[in-house]
């Protein structure tokens, strides 16, 4: 009873504890100090990341942008400022570099069209099949994801060996009686097959991620909707193509965007498989590889500025493509 009477008697206003935003009952004198301390701690943890971003992000971005307006061989103490000359030289003005950049741009365009489309064309059906697989689904998912986790220089080198004139692919084709499809010069040595071959390897590397994204999307679809379609008489094809596929459009956009970026800026596959000059005879030279070549393989000519300018042109194209992709996505969802 005593406690009840106490509860009914309101305490003096001055003695009432003030509720903190977090609902705690800490004293009014300790609150701000604690908040300051927490803020300091938070900033202390954030500072390294901010410093790293400033040093490795903003500084290098600014440095790269400035470099694109200069000629420099990477060693001289001074840069020679040339304004927009590097951009103009790459785009049309230099009789030495413009034709090479044009040829590399054409190859890049082919890669940018082929890799995303083929990745989507293979990933989606693969994901649908995996989603419907009743048995061994986990094992098959692991097998299909293997190219992604094993990707790297060693895998590209392995591909290079397999694709040689006396490599495994030719041997297999001959063993299967398909010798006419074998490439006596190797799949990377024939100018007609070199670029398509690298595209196939890029798609092989990209499919696992695409497949996983589609699989995640398929598993998040409302089963009731698919069931309703089935009850309405829609078969396997109509269910996937007219219900699942449109609903997974955002994932398709993401897969396309990821692969466009890789096709536009990635060059390591080409560097390892066909060399820094895009052999044979420049037939696999792409813009990313050309930027690398201008930076490190021009016999120390002052072409670092050209390399940087090409990098910025690639960046602008990437931004433009991302914007177009997002716009397309927004208009269809």
């Amino acid at each position: 009873m005593a406690s009840l009477s106490v509860s009914k008697t309101p305490p003096p206003a001055s003695a009432a504890p003030r509720a903190t935003p977090a609902g705690s009952t800490g004293s009014t004198r300790r609150g701000p100090r604690r908040r300051v301390r927490e803020a300091v701690t938070a900033y202390a943890f954030l500072t390294p990341a901010v410093l790293l971003f400033l040093a490795l992000g903003l500084y290098t971005l600014g440095y790269g942008l400035a470099l694109s307006g200069a000629t420099w061989n990477g060693f001289s103490p001074e840069w020679t400022w040339v304004g927009l000359d590097n951009y103009l030289d790459l785009l049309y003005r230099s009789p030495v570099y413009a034709p090479i950049v044009r040829s590399a741009a054409l190859h890049t365009l082919v890669v940018m069209i082929a890799v995303p489309l083929l990745t989507v064309a293979i990933s989606f059906p693969l994901a649908v099949l995996l989603n419907n697989a009743a048995r061994l689904r986990t094992m098959m998912r692991t097998v299909f994801f293997l190219p992604y986790v094993t990707s790297g220089i060693a895998v590209y080198l392995a591909w290079q060996y397999v694709l040689r004139p006396d490599g495994g692919v030719n041997a297999l084709l001959r063993a299967l009686g398909l010798g006419t499809l074998a490439q006596p010069q190797g799949f990377l040595g024939n100018p007609a097959t070199a670029l398509p071959t690298v595209i196939v390897v890029m798609v092989w590397t990209a499919v696992p991620v695409g497949m996983l994204l589609y699989l995640t999307g398929l598993q998040s679809l409302d089963p009731a909707m698919l069931e309703a379609a089935s009850l309405d008489g829609a078969g396997w094809w109509r269910t996937n193509m007219h219900i699942a596929w449109p609903l997974l459009r955002p994932i398709t956009a993401a897969v396309i965007l990821l692969n466009l970026r890789e096709a536009l800026q990635g060059f390591q596959t080409f560097l390892v498989m066909t060399g820094p000059e895009g052999a044979p005879g420049g037939k696999t030279n792409v813009l990313g590889l050309q930027a690398y070549h201008l930076a490190f393989l021009e016999q120390m000519q002052p072409t670092l500025g050209l390399a940087s300018a090409l990098g910025w042109l690639l960046f602008l194209i990437a931004i433009l493509l991302a914007a177009l992709n997002l716009r397309a996505l927004r208009s269809t969802t």
Binding site: N73, P165, D166, Q185, G186, G189, G275, P302
Partner: protein, 462 residues
């Protein structure tokens, strides 16, 4: 589980977190800096085959002087360039560098990264070198003048400065033939003319279509141009005719009858390239030859070291220079030895006296001979009248192709070419690869493409 941190504990945790984040940054510099006490120096090289022989020499050097030398290799060339760029920026260059002569030495020297050794490398030092390379690495007035033009690769070089000392020498345009494959194909003598070479490759290819051809690392497109076409063209046209190919007179350039003649001769190799040669790097081509995938391999004197590295014994190969065609204007043409790699002291070194002692030590005849034999590379040091005794028969046989005089093809002489051409010849090489082995263009079209490129370089140099 709840962890309680007091005020000091939190501060300590914050400091530890920051330190953990920042320490790895400090550790990833990869600096070549040595102590600066004159007792230990560091040297970087881009040639893996030089590492062990240099380490052996360093062990002898330490015994004699007490100075230890750490040798580090950074390969391939683009990684070496990138490493040097970052090291130069972060004051992390080593004491001594091995560089391509008249390449990186001028670039780094002009940038103030290499010590001018002109007052240290005196006649008593250069006297022991092969005569043709004694002045290699010294900046000429012509080079200084060219360095002031826009787009020069060597801004800042000063006439008379010496930024490096020759270390290894050699030349391009050496053909290596697999003796066993020659014997199997019935080729009994070393080709004396270009036509003999084509006939020999035809014979070995007929014997073994897949593994009887000729190879070179055409993935680096300039190799076919520099190592085969140019020495052959010199033999066919003589010095004046050869130099005319790169000139401004369209009556003498690649599209002219002279140019068409040598391009057509080169095109005769087209059916006999080893499968896939067009996509191989230089090392990969050497490896494929060493593994028996080709009967012939085109390279330079330095190729022997690669072949040995890939498991081929020097006595398994026959080495001879790219021959001149029958009826050529310089059929008795020989090849000039030039300095391939040099040694340089960086301006960031605090051990200059020890660095110079090391360079001088490597220039001693006995040390150079031991190095050469172990590295299968020819030293800049004159091996005397009996090189066989010093470096063995195969390596010594390569010195026989060297000569001097008017009928000598010197791959290093680019004085008659547009200034920017030598640094861009892989672009000309790509045009040649499209003709042979790719068969994508005819000699006529290739001649026109080469002329356009060269014309553009002349225009750019104005």
């Amino acid at each position: 589980m709840h962890l309680y941190y007091g005020r000091h504990g939190r501060r300590a945790a914050t400091a530890a977190a920051m330190a953990a984040l920042l320490l790895p940054l400090a550790a990833c510099g990869g600096s070549g800096k040595s102590a600066g006490d004159g007792k230990s120096i560091t040297m970087w090289t881009f040639k893996q085959s030089h590492v062990k022989p240099l380490q052996d020499a360093a062990a002898r050097f330490k015994d004699q002087t007490g100075i230890s030398v750490t040798i580090q290799a950074v390969t391939p060339d683009d990684a070496y360039t990138a490493k040097l760029q970052s090291a130069a920026k972060t004051n992390g260059l080593p004491d001594v560098l091995e560089v391509h002569t008249q390449g990186e030495d001028f670039v780094y020297g002009g940038a103030g990264l290499l010590t001018d050794l002109s007052d240290k490398v005196d006649a008593s030092w250069t006297r022991g070198m092969v005569p043709s390379v004694r002045k290699a690495g010294v900046v000429t007035p012509r080079l200084e003048a060219a360095s002031k033009k826009p787009g020069s690769a060597y801004p800042g070089v000063k006439a008379g400065a010496r930024y490096s000392v020759p270390f290894t020498i050699g030349t391009f345009g050496i053909v290596y033939a697999n003796k066993a494959k020659l014997a199997e194909a019935g080729v009994s003598s070393v080709p004396k003319t270009w036509e003999d070479l084509v006939a020999a490759v035809k014979a070995t290819t007929k014997k073994d279509k897949r593994k009887g051809g000729i190879t070179v690392g055409l993935g680096t497109a300039s190799t076919g141009l520099n190592w085969a076409l140019q020495p052959m063209a010199f033999g066919a046209l003589g010095k004046a005719g050869y130099q005319g190919l790169f000139g401004r007179d369209s009556g003498k350039t690649w599209a002219s009858p002279n140019g068409q003649k040598v391009l057509s001769l080169y095109d005769k190799l087209t059916p006999y390239w080893a499968p896939g040669a067009q996509s191989l790097s230089i090392d990969a081509a050497d490896r494929s030859f060493a593994q028996g995938d080709a009967a012939f391999d085109i390279g330079g004197t330095f190729t022997l070291a690669s072949l040995r590295q890939f498991g081929m014994k020097p006595d398994e190969v026959e080495a001879f220079p790219i021959p001149a065609p029958k009826g050529g204007k310089a059929t008795d043409r020989s090849l000039a030895a030039f300095s391939l790699t040099s040694l340089a002291v960086t301006t960031q070194s605090k051990n200059e006296a020890a660095d110079l002692k090391w360079l001088r030590f490597l220039a001693k005849p006995d040390v150079a001979g031991t190095f050469a034999k172990a590295a299968t590379d020819l030293p800049a040091v004159d091996l005397g009248d009996n090189p066989v005794r010093v470096v063995g028969p195969t390596l010594a046989s390569l010195t026989k192709v060297f000569s001097s005089g008017s009928q000598v093809y010197d791959p290093n002489d680019t004085s008659f070419m547009p200034a920017q051409y030598p640094a861009n010849w892989e672009k000309a090489g790509a045009a040649l690869v499209n003709m042979s082995p790719l068969k994508r263009s005819s000699p006529r079209e290739t001649g026109k493409q080469l002329d356009t490129l060269i014309k553009n370089y002349w225009a750019a140099g104005k």
